[in-house]
């Protein structure tokens, strides 16, 4: 089941989300064709209950899709939409047509609703905004949008009337944790992509009469990259292992912290092994390494989540840290 599912997603992305498509969307061309292909596949409704027309999958089951969004550098918010639709369907709200991203907002002195960093905001039809403890769905078409940071991310604002009129999603929702679980999985995918591309490059690139991968210094750097990619993937998988519909905040803390830490190490080593060619726009490596940095910065860097984990550990009455380690890692089947 797992393999069939991820093979289908992989085939779809191989056909429709090529590096050329990623570059075009990053350059401001329309996402319509890619989005239609993804929407038609139904993967964005993976978490929506079957009774509402979705696939009714559990959170842990969608890990392969989210990881592949990372390994294919998907430039549209498929993962965000998948999670947002799941959240809304479980909250009993009609699922919107089109792409959805997440925002954390505040009402400014001018009365406008401000979201300073909306990941993939330039590619959204809708933004699920958390503000003052409530969650509402706003139309991106009504927003003032400025690119902020990574080329697909945006600073967005709406008149207060848009917030007041927006569809409310009942319940308390921790959108930051949900996003962190997503970006941890995407990081795991991008880490594997960067690692495997670098391994391939080391086997292909000849210097001093042999592939550079024959040099011990390069071999050891690749070994270290594989260690980080491997640990990060395990952490990211655990981040989505939960019995309920909502990820466990501490597991997500581990997932996002570990993948973010790995992102820095792996991005650095991959550029070191590639040399100057890896730094060019023409070469594909940058599509993935720029995302390693962007997603490390999204929904809390490693230190943000270290604080969360440290607080849990210090507040725990158990004298052995093992007990919290077990809670975090014992697999939920």
């Amino acid at each position: 089941m797992d393999d069939l599912f991820s093979d289908a997603v992989k085939a779809l992305l191989t056909d429709h989300c090529t590096p050329a498509v990623v570059r075009a969307i990053e350059a401001g061309q329309s996402r319509a064709a890619l989005w239609k292909a993804l929407e038609d596949s139904g993967f964005a409704d993976a978490l929506v209950p079957e009774s509402a027309g979705g696939a009714g999958l559990a959170l842990a089951d969608v890990y392969p899709v989210l990881e592949l969004c990372g390994s294919f550098a998907v430039p549209v918010p498929l993962g965000e939409t998948l999670l947002a639709r799941g959240l809304m369907a479980h909250a009993g709200v009609p699922v919107p047509v089109g792409s959805v991203v997440f925002g954390t907002g505040h009402l400014g002195p001018d009365g406008r609703l401000q979201c300073t960093q909306v990941r993939c905001g330039t590619q959204a039809d809708w933004v699920l905004v958390s503000c003052g403890g409530t969650c509402r769905l706003l139309s991106a078409a009504d927003a003032h949008v400025e690119v902020a940071g990574f080329c697909l991310d945006a600073q967005m604002s709406w008149p207060q009337s848009a917030w007041d009129a927006a569809l409310a999603v009942p319940g308390a929702h921790d959108l930051v944790t949900l996003q962190a679980a997503l970006y941890a999985a995407q990081l795991a995918g991008a880490l594997m992509a960067v690692f495997s591309r670098t391994l391939q490059y080391a086997n292909d690139r000849q210097q001093f009469g042999k592939p550079i991968g024959k040099f011990q210094a390069i071999q050891h750097q690749l070994s270290v990259m594989s260690e980080h990619a491997f640990a990060a993937r395990m952490a990211a998988q655990l981040g989505l292992r939960t019995e309920g519909a909502v990820p466990d905040r501490l597991r997500v803390a581990m997932a996002k912290a570990r993948t973010s830490e790995a992102a820095l190490e792996v991005a650095g080593l991959s550029h070191s092994i590639h040399g100057a060619i890896g730094f060019t726009r023409e070469f594909d490596l940058q599509l993935y390494t720029r995302r390693l940095h962007a997603w490390r910065q999204a929904a809390g860097s490693e230190s943000y989540w270290h604080d969360v984990m440290g607080q849990a550990l210090l507040d725990s009455p158990e004298p052995l840290s093992l007990d919290l380690i077990r809670t975090l890692t014992d697999a939920v089947v």
Partner: protein, 385 residues
């Protein structure tokens, strides 16, 4: 790549997990008054009486078949036990190698008579083993061993020298990698494993004092040591392959994550006090936890592979290299935390534990294969060699 992709979160089966409560109740009582700097020794702490007691409770050789004194349980059962031993800092060094490595090796490659003879005493916690691999001229380059066992009418005549042999001075037996044919230049060919009773005439064991002041490892000399014909373990000439399989057991266990755990827990106890708690310490606690926890999940996933009879050599090397890195980060980062404060109120026992761990930490990435050897093995697994 496929090796990396194939490690997924695994659950410890409930019957094995159930052992935890029982062993924890025992350890809570047994370790009650042992100070942290002593608990920090854990699998470098030697206590034959403690090993005997674990044997009496059925906790040694738990994976061995009942016919040889074991309980026929899975690798997960042993995982739960040793995870508890290590986290309580129980003095498990006496039987450690026998239970982890030598017993499984004998079980896999030994003759029926060898299994009958050696395994029950391991399960009782009465027979302690060491591993004779390194020599003065054969460290990371293990295939260049020169210690030689020559066949004669009485069995095998053993001559040579081993070094860095952990716990040899407290052990009854060594399973040694020796040359039984050919020359050092023949590399992997002509190597075999023999079991050596360390009480035999001609065996001399000299402890080496390490920089912490402890004697964990030894030099062992063999001068015309007469071994019986049944001293050979496994096939003559099959030593290299056997040692490689043995190292998967050696490298994959939880002892590659928890070597500094007594220090981490002792430091956490201090950081939980009102005077000890700072935002910096909280962040560091989270950082260490975020590195340890995924490694534990990887280690459990590797155990799952062992239960399926696989030999996850490359995965084990990955976990060991990363794990020893965290084990070494712990004393370095805790020292920085403690000495960035006004040190006046830091408890002496915490400082003693830190001092001990700081001094032994270099050994973490030496024992069981150095960093560079492990990274070379990973590179081979990635197809680079």
């Amino acid at each position: 790549m496929s090796q990396l992709d194939s490690l997924n979160p695994s659950a410890i089966p409930a019957p094995d997990e159930a052992l935890r409560q029982e062993v924890r109740a025992f350890l809570t009582e047994a370790m009650r008054s042992v100070p942290a700097h002593v608990r920090a020794r854990s699998w470098s702490g030697y206590d034959p009486a403690f090993s005997c007691e674990l044997g009496r409770r059925g906790w040694l050789g738990i994976t061995f078949p009942p016919a040889y004194g074991g309980a026929g349980r899975s690798a997960f059962a042993r995982y739960v036990l040793v995870e508890e031993f290590l986290n309580f800092g129980a003095p498990v060094g006496s039987h450690w190698i026998a239970d982890r490595q030598s017993g499984p090796l004998l079980l896999k490659y030994g003759t029926e008579a060898q299994k009958q003879r050696y395994l029950p005493a391991i399960c009782r916690g009465e027979a302690f083993y060491c591993i004779g691999m390194s020599e003065p001229g054969a460290g990371s380059d293990l295939a260049s061993v020169r210690t030689r066992a020559v066949p004669n009418e009485a069995g095998w005549l053993l001559n040579g020298q081993k070094i860095w042999t952990t716990n040899a001075h407290n052990c009854h037996y060594m399973i040694a990698l020796v040359r039984t044919s050919g020359e050092a230049g023949d590399r992997h060919k002509g190597l075999s494993q023999v079991i050596v009773d360390l009480s035999l005439p001609g065996v001399t064991v000299r402890p080496i004092v390490d920089q912490s002041g402890d004697s964990h490892f030894c030099e062992v000399f063999f001068e015309n040591v007469q071994l019986g014909p049944d001293a050979l373990v496994g096939e003559e000439g099959g030593g290299w392959e056997q040692v490689t399989a043995e190292l998967a057991f050696e490298r994959s266990g939880p002892e590659r994550l928890y070597s500094s755990i007594a220090l981490f827990d002792e430091w956490l106890a201090y950081v939980r006090t009102p005077q000890g708690r700072t935002p910096q310490a909280q962040r560091l606690a989270g950082k260490i936890l975020s590195q340890l926890a995924p490694l534990r999940a990887m280690s459990v996933a590797i155990t799952e592979k062992l239960t399926r009879g696989e030999s996850p050599v490359v995965e084990a090397a990955l976990v060991k290299d990363l794990g020893t890195g965290v084990e070494q980060l712990i004393p370095a980062a805790i020292a920085d935390d403690l000495f960035s404060r006004d040190a006046a109120d830091v408890p002496a026992e915490l400082l003693n534990t830190l001092n001990y761990i700081t001094q032994v930490a270099p050994s973490y990435s030496l024992r069981g294969g150095t960093r560079d050897i492990l990274r070379g093995m990973i590179a081979r697994g990635l197809g680079l060699r």
